[in-house]
């Protein structure tokens, strides 16, 4: 797996040239934004169960047949598998976000995911919908634009707007998963 730094190294090595100021500019920005990146990662890790549970519940609410006999989230054993997968995807997104590079997400989560879901008979449209909801929730928590959540009353630092770039980077990782399943 790679991070933003080793990605630069691997691409410079393929050209056989040292890493100069041009390539270092983006890495310097990565270092300068380190606190935002760490805050954004925390936004995921501290809200995992909430994000995953809300996404799966949302998916079921939109397709109530899923939890009826014959549905793909019936019985609870299969619904639990769904929640588990939501958390796994969030975990790899959090790794990618911390590294500033999607390689770990690609190698260890996305690679073979679609084939696995097809083999298991997971309905792709529903899986994609759950990931979309996770993306929306994650971005909202990072940018502190989520409304109506009591736990955020009074503790919002008001700096969420500064995490906008990082939040859109996180959104791009969710989009990678969605694209892979589409």
């Amino acid at each position: 797996m790679l991070d933003a730094f080793s990605r630069a190294v691997v691409s410079a090595d393929s050209k056989g040239s040292p890493i100069g100021s041009a390539e270092l500019a983006s890495l310097k920005k990565y270092v300068a934004d380190a606190n935002k990146r760490i805050d954004a990662t925390l936004a995921i890790t501290q809200n995992v169960s909430c994000i995953a549970a809300d996404a799966v519940s949302g998916m079921v609410c939109e397709n109530t047949g899923l939890t009826q006999p014959g549905g793909n989230c019936y019985p609870t054993r299969r619904m639990a598998a769904c929640l588990r997968d939501g958390e796994i995807i969030l975990r790899y997104v959090s790794y990618a976000l911390l590294s500033g590079d999607p390689s770990i997400l690609d190698d260890r989560c996305i690679n073979g995911l679609k084939e696995t879901y097809i083999a298991l008979g997971v309905p792709m449209a529903n899986a994609i919908r759950a990931i979309e909801i996770m993306k929306i929730a994650t971005v909202a928590i990072m940018t502190e634009t989520n409304t109506g959540r009591k736990m955020f009353d009074g503790i919002n630092s008001g700096s969420g707007a500064e995490c906008k770039d990082i939040a859109s980077e996180a959104a791009s990782y969710f989009d990678r998963v969605i694209t892979a399943l589409s």
Binding site: F5, D13, P18, L24, A34, I38, R91, S94
Partner: protein, 155 residues
């Protein structure tokens, strides 16, 4: 490729857990030290050719040697300095270990090359970094630590 961040992420993944607070603190620590090593990498990229030439002159002195040999020596020094540049960027010794040191002893011995000459070259570079005209004190410390690491591996 190992770096401070990938090490943390790999071990978190092996345990199947999210990055913990202490994981994030160790990542933060490496970011705090990053400006010095990025400066060193940037300056090294600028002076790489100069350091190579100076070291080559020092090692070969005024004796007469075949130009072809000198060119190969320059190429090797240039190669190792480039790997040090990469190490400064990743914040670990990964690039040197994986692309420079693994198998190095065997290759150098197979070609009947004297490791002492390389050691002399890198020692010369280490001792002749101009502070602060070429790089700052902190940056030079990071650079010299990696030169020492390489010298130890060659010795």
């Amino acid at each position: 490729m190992k770096s401070a961040v990938t090490t943390v992420v790999t071990s978190a993944d092996a345990a199947g857990r999210f990055p913990t607070i202490s994981d994030l603190e160790s990542v933060k620590g490496s970011f705090d030290r990053a400006p010095a090593r990025l400066e060193a990498a940037e300056k090294l990229a600028v002076y790489l050719d100069k350091y190579t030439t100076n070291a080559l002159d020092e090692v070969y002195g005024n004796g007469s040697y075949e130009q072809a040999n000198k060119d190969k020596c320059a190429r090797d020094i240039h190669h190792y300095l480039r790997l040090i540049n990469y190490c400064l960027v990743t914040g670990g010794t990964g690039p040197l270990d994986e692309w420079g040191i693994a198998g190095m002893r065997e290759v150098i011995r197979a070609q009947l090359l004297p490791t002492a000459a390389y050691i002399e070259a890198f020692t010369y570079i280490r001792d002749n970094v101009q502070i602060p005209s070429e790089m700052g004190q902190q940056a030079a410390t990071e650079f010299k630590a990696l030169l020492d690491y390489l010298i130890n591996a060659l010795a």
